[in-house]
Assembly symmetry: C2
Homo-oligomer: 268 residues x 2
């Protein structure tokens, strides 16, 4: 039994789709969430900058007495985590391995698509991780740089989202994939649109949700779960808190309970 | 005569459309350009964060012995400059007043449209400045948050750009505006698409180019122009320089000559 909180961070608010899943799977856990809203997006930045920002985000979470960290950001999970995992004492899970594991298990024809930001796709880590799990898998990756701005501006459905989804996804569909990893935690909000384009026969893997499943397994194995009936969530952001609640509720699909505070992330 | 350089900055690379105009109008001037590529975009951030970033950008430019600063960023010009102009000794011009002056002079029916980022439109500064120039003007503003990501991902023409432009601009067209201020320095790259939607009878005002015209006037009036035959440009960015040259050439519409260096903007 361990009542210390779990730390979860993302470049912005997409990671709240992972928070939602952690709250479902582990309702007794306290959560510290950090969204780097003052510097979002990470996906279009260089790997060195993503690395610098990721280290600061982890250092901030470590100022709390946390027991586990989830990087609920596809870009930081692929472009930074493999390079910095050993720098920190706390166990850190990204979305990469859990999503690959779920995809490899779900695929029947061995053809897996991966969509994410430019930073995620450029890192090649999804391809590498899937191939390590099963060298016979065929992996098709596609960067979808407009998906994050579309989601953040409320275009999760409608003509613009549909047109962008067609532009990005039709080539993956033509390859005959039967499983598609949503490698960015913003993308689950586009599920309906992505499903319209890809069809019902393609299994969509929500990387943030899979990270939550993995975190539960790890915490159970290490006997670190909390036995509280109901956990709390504290939210931290690097831009103003104003407006946070409305947008956060879109990602969480429920009312925000818990404090929201602004911090200066450059100081960490 | 004054051979000191002109400092120009933007949240990212959109400000290069202003650099291009300064190079045309003032070919003898040396230019120091800073693009905050590690923290772009500014347009969706809070006014306090835009203020903090703008101060750092100006402080960085001031480490050079500059004679004049152009804020070639619509968001920083409207959301930050009016609040910090008096904090600095160097004269600072934004894109706001020059663009409003050009629009007020170009309009025949007194109906002016303004498009920009959320930060620009939320600040209300275009409306306020135009009304101060001529209280009888009718001003219609519209935030176009997807235009910057569209431009940065190369969608300056084609179906996606056209659909987004229709979504943002048709309401302005319906108001019968005869002049449209492109209040963000990324938007001139969408000129063809915007013109397709708005029609040829609407005059488009390029805010960055107007800032260059204004800078020339101010420097002439103060006898601060350089008499060199050919100026140089030094480029600084806050993310990696890799990839900068290709994208920068899209904005400048010419080959990049001059050094490109990365700096740590948080230190200023």
């Amino acid at each position: 039994m361990d009542h210390r909180p779990i730390g979860i961070f993302d470049s912005g608010l997409g990671g709240l789709t992972c928070v939602k899943k952690v709250m479902e799977l582990l309702p007794g856990e306290d959560i510290i969430y950090f969204g780097d809203t003052g510097r979002v997006p990470y996906g279009s930045r260089s790997s060195d900058t993503i690395l610098k920002y990721t280290r600061q985000d982890i250092r901030f979470l470590q100022t709390f007495d946390i027991k586990f960290i989830i990087i609920a950001c596809g870009t930081a999970s692929s472009a930074a985590l493999p390079r910095i995992r050993n720098e920190f004492q706390t166990e850190i899970a990204g979305v990469l391995e859990p999503a690959c594991r779920a995809a490899a298990s779900a695929s029947r024809n061995g053809k897996i698509g991966v969509i994410g930001t430019q930073g995620t796709v450029r890192s090649g880590k999804y391809l590498h991780t899937l191939k390590e799990m099963d060298a016979s898998l065929k992996v098709f990756s596609k960067a979808c740089p407009l998906f994050v701005p579309l989601v953040e501006n409320g275009h999760t459905q409608g003509a613009l989202a549909r047109l962008a989804a067609e532009e990005y996804l039709l080539s993956l569909k033509a390859e005959g994939i039967d499983t598609l990893i949503l490698g960015c935690t913003h993308y689950p909000l586009l599920t309906d649109t992505i499903r319209e384009v890809m069809g019902d026969s393609v299994t969509l893997i929500d990387a943030g949700a899979q990270a939550a499943v993995y975190a539960k397994e790890r915490l159970m194995a290490a006997n670190l779960l909390s036995d509280k009936a109901c956990g709390t969530v504290q939210y931290y952001v690097s831009d103003e808190v104003e407006g946070f609640t409305d947008i956060a509720q879109m990602f969480l699909e429920k009312e925000i309970k818990g404090s929201v505070q602004k911090i200066e992330i450059e100081a960490y």
